[in-house]
Subunit: 137 residues, 2 copies
DNA sequence: TCTTGAACCTCTAGCCACTAGAGCAACTAG
DNA sequence: CTAGTTGCTCTAGTGGCTAGAGGTTCAAGA
């Protein structure tokens, strides 16, 4: 049996965040000690690790809730889990594409500043005048 | 003189967002019509385009406020604007690196699912068991 | 000139995924 | 037994908007 702090240390999830996940229905309400403190077993530890991992991968609370629901029905076809993972992959790829465009833009802006004072600073000019941009964003 | 809706159409910034920027001090309180409606001139239009552009590049409201303050003092050295742009570039690059790791991870998870049912679904297993991951994240 | 409907106003509350803090109770090491 | 850490609940704040209520003003057509 782990206290909430123990669970926090083992999973790297902060204590208030664990309580938040419980509130959001990702973790079931755990047993309590006589003094009303949460006591977690191994299944809760594993589920929290699952949640942590999924959050690190960028899944929303809602997606995670869906996955948890699905994992409670091991006999169902797993097309839905696949779909959730693929959607997430698509979203991540799109974010990468957009960030790479930003990177190029910022590179140009940040390295081309040869002015001495704000008055002739390329950063300010580039931000003011979209026409100085290469790509579209 | 532009109405707020006009400004919105010209810059692609939504009407409530323009009011929000005013509230946040990025836009100065504009003139008003007799009936208390906002009336913007060309300088406001340009500043809003500046803000829009900077937001698109991922700068925070706070960074933008700093840049606006700086642009009001054209005689100062522009090291600060440079620093803000470079910091932003660094942040973007870091996000890209992290997202690429996620992409690889999700690729593996989403494409390796050969199971038929949730019970033997790789997605669920991979999320449960961090040890199945290649990299560290 | 009048009317109608779109656009505007302010104000408050909600979104996501936490995070911080107040004020109090329970546990644990010495 | 006591001191200090950890736990509890509850409320409110974060960033960058977005939505809605309830009311006012503007502009185009009749």
């Amino acid at each position: 049996m782990h206290s909430i702090g123990d669970l926090s240390r083992r999973t790297g999830v902060k204590v208030p965040t664990i309580r938040y996940y419980e509130q959001m229905g990702l973790l079931e309400a755990p047993e309590r000690s006589e003094g009303n403190q949460r006591r977690f077993g191994k299944p809760e530890l594993e589920r929290l690790a699952f949640i942590r991992h999924a959050r690190d991968l960028g899944l929303t609370i809602d997606s995670i809730r869906q996955l948890i629901d699905l994992s409670g029905h091991p006999d169902r076809p797993c097309g839905d889990t696949d779909r959730i993972a693929k959607e997430q992959l698509g979203a991540v790829r799109e974010r990468i594409v957009r960030l790479r465009r930003l990177e190029k833009e910022l590179e140009r802006i940040a390295t081309c500043c040869t002015g001495e004072t704000v008055g002739d600073c390329y950063v300010i000019r580039a931000l003011s005048d979209h026409a100085l941009c290469d790509g579209d964003h």
